[in-house]
């Protein structure tokens, strides 16, 4: 079985950084954006940004499946 690529793991870490670890940077009311407090706006924005990051990771993983059919054989034995 294969492990995910480092690049695709890094793409997955971006939403964690944006949504979770950086909370003290964005947890405030001002500036209000589109009428929303900044923290609400920030998290709602990440509902769209997360699929973008994961789409990138998906392309990386799916591309690897398509490009190297023979590699799966050797990985399967790991």
């Amino acid at each position: 079985m294969r492990k995910p690529r480092l690049a695709s793991l890094l793409l997955g870490l971006i939403p964690f950084a944006g949504i979770c670890f950086s909370v003290s940077l964005w947890d405030r009311v001002d500036p209000l954006i589109l009428g929303l407090p900044f923290n609400f706006f920030w998290l709602i924005a990440w509902l769209g940004l997360t699929p973008l990051c994961m789409w990138g990771a998906y392309r990386l993983e799916a591309g690897r499946d398509a490009d190297r059919p023979q590699r799966r054989q050797s990985d399967g034995a790991r």
């Binding site: 079985m1 995910p4 997955g12 979770c20 929303l36 998290l43 993983e61 799916a62």
Partner: protein, 488 residues
């Protein structure tokens, strides 16, 4: 007035039950069909089944309830859902591959195959059943609240819960996971409508828009809109630890784990992981309703009532019925999959391997159906006699099921991990959860107690694994090529 609201609710519940019975009756039910739907669900059905896991009474009443009573800490709900899908991207496709190869039907099966230990599997199953019960209790309590509010306090919460759960049990008994999946269609459509309509209409009716509502809130309760909100202990450290615990624990729920095995291919799961975060877009709308209620209906003793009380105050009774009906399905459908998962775990991974090795699959299926009633009754008793908030119930469950994460993820990606390490880690995690939660030390200086337990669990698992002898893992010899599954 109350009669029309109740009539609409019961109409919706009846329609849902009929769909479930019809979907279930069209196929012959063996154990595999009943628990993982024959493993042939395509993208739309798996999407609904997995997305349906998120849309429970918890989101509907619990999220608005916490936004009402606690304020900004409720944002954690908006945060953990997309991150749970990110985590799933890296583990579910692989679990699915291995699951098909080794005929894994439950979370405990996974431990059994990977660590070659039926005792570890039984331990996992037992912990799973125990922590499914607060989640089930949450759904029951939610249903009770809906009928209570919709009947204008004419029907008590207890008879309401009894009635609704007789229906759920009957529904699970006859239809299994396929029935659950199809009722999810109705449930999700209604829920989407209810959340969008209420989340936009309430701010417009009372404040003239979402922007003006937040301007009013920022003026009246500025502290409510940032963490720790109306609480003292739910600050940023609590937020980070709770978001991590929930994101890692999300697919460790036995029912969610089993639902992912119903996919047709690993690629289906990967694509789902990419798009599902968009599905959480209704969560902020529900939070808006709870926040608005702090200005419109201040002083409610139980925040979990806020969404429905506000709908009752604002709209005609039939509309309250429509929202209540949507809410009732968001309790019943997840309740059905919770019951199904708990019953299957108990019979397949505890009772049969330890006490009745010769039982056939058919007998296991029968026993599972008897257990449906037992488990429902236990949760009902807890629901009647306890009075915690819906979110607290869910967090208790997460503290428990997240303890499976080290065993699953290390089992997938670290060859050195051993059965002893995982057992010791799981037991250590449980001990910490029990000590902190029963001793009322949650949150422990601003950090989620379940997350503390998870860290202890990881450390113990890794340390004991390094100290014990390497053992051959159950996935060591793959039987055949599975890569094709990801290509479609």
């Amino acid at each position: 007035m109350s009669a029309s609201a109740l009539a609409v609710i019961f109409g919706i519940v009846a329609a849902g039950t009929c769909i479930g019975l019809y979907a279930g009756s069209r196929r012959k039910m063996d154990l595999e069909q009943w628990t993982v739907g024959g493993r042939d669900f395509g993208l739309p059905l798996v999407w609904l089944l997995m997305a349906g896991e998120v849309y429970t009474t918890f989101t509907f009443l619990g999220a608005s309830g916490w936004a009402y009573s606690k304020g900004a800490p409720a944002l954690y709900i908006l945060a953990y859902q997309p991150l749970a899908y990110v985590v799933s991207f890296y583990i579910l496709p692989r679990i699915w591959d291995l699951g098909r190869e080794h005929r894994v039907q439950t979370l405990a099966d996974f431990f059994q195959v990977r660590y070659r230990s039926k005792h570890l599997a039984a331990l996992v199953a037992a912990v799973g059943v125990v922590f499914l019960i607060p989640y089930l209790q949450l759904q029951l309590t939610g249903l009770g609240i809906i009928v209570e509010v919709a009947s204008f306090q004419g029907i008590g919460r207890t008879p309401a819960m009894l009635l609704a759960f007789a229906l759920v049990a009957a529904f699970v008994y006859t239809s299994g996971v396929r029935g659950v999946a199809w009722v999810s269609v109705l449930k999700d459509l209604l829920m989407l409508f209810a959340a969008v309509f209420v989340g936009i209409a309430i701010p417009y009716i009372y404040f003239g828009g979402i922007g003006p509502m937040f301007a009013a809130l920022a003026h009246a309760h500025p502290g409510h809109l940032v963490m720790p909100g109306a609480t003292k202990s739910l600050g940023h450290a609590w937020y980070i630890s709770t978001v991590l615990l929930s994101a890692l624990g999300f697919y460790m729920w036995p029912h969610a784990f089993a639902a992912s095995l119903t996919a047709r291919s690993a690629g289906t799961l990967r694509r789902n992981a990419v798009i599902l975060p968009l599905y959480s877009i209704t969560v902020p709308l529900i939070l808006f309703v709870g926040l608005g209620a702090t200005l419109i209906l201040p002083g409610l003793s139980n925040g979990d009532l806020s969404l429905l009380m506000l709908v009752r105050k604002t709209f005609p009774a039939w509309f309250l019925g429509l929202i209540g009906g949507a809410g009732a399905l968001t309790a019943m459908v997840p309740a059905a999959s919770l019951i199904l998962a708990a019953a299957t775990l108990f019979t397949k991974n505890i009772y049969r391997p330890l006490f009745a090795a010769t039982m056939s699959d058919a007998q296991v299926a029968t026993l599972a159906k008897v257990l449906v009633l037992v488990i429902t009754a236990i949760a009902l008793v807890f629901a009647i006699y306890s009075s915690t908030t819906l979110v607290s119930l869910l967090l208790l469950g997460y503290a428990g099921v997240a303890q499976f994460f080290p065993g699953v993820v290390l089992g997938l990606y670290w060859r050195r991990v051993t059965r002893r390490g995982v057992s010791a880690g799981l037991l250590a995690g449980m001990a910490v959860v029990a000590a902190l939660m029963l001793g009322k030390h949650d949150p422990l200086p601003g950090i989620n107690a379940g997350f503390v337990a998870l860290c202890v669990n990881f450390a113990v698992t890794a340390a004991i694994s390094c100290l014990s002898r390497t053992e051959p893992g159950g996935f060591a010899e793959p039987r055949g090529e599975r890569g094709a599954a990801t290509a479609d």
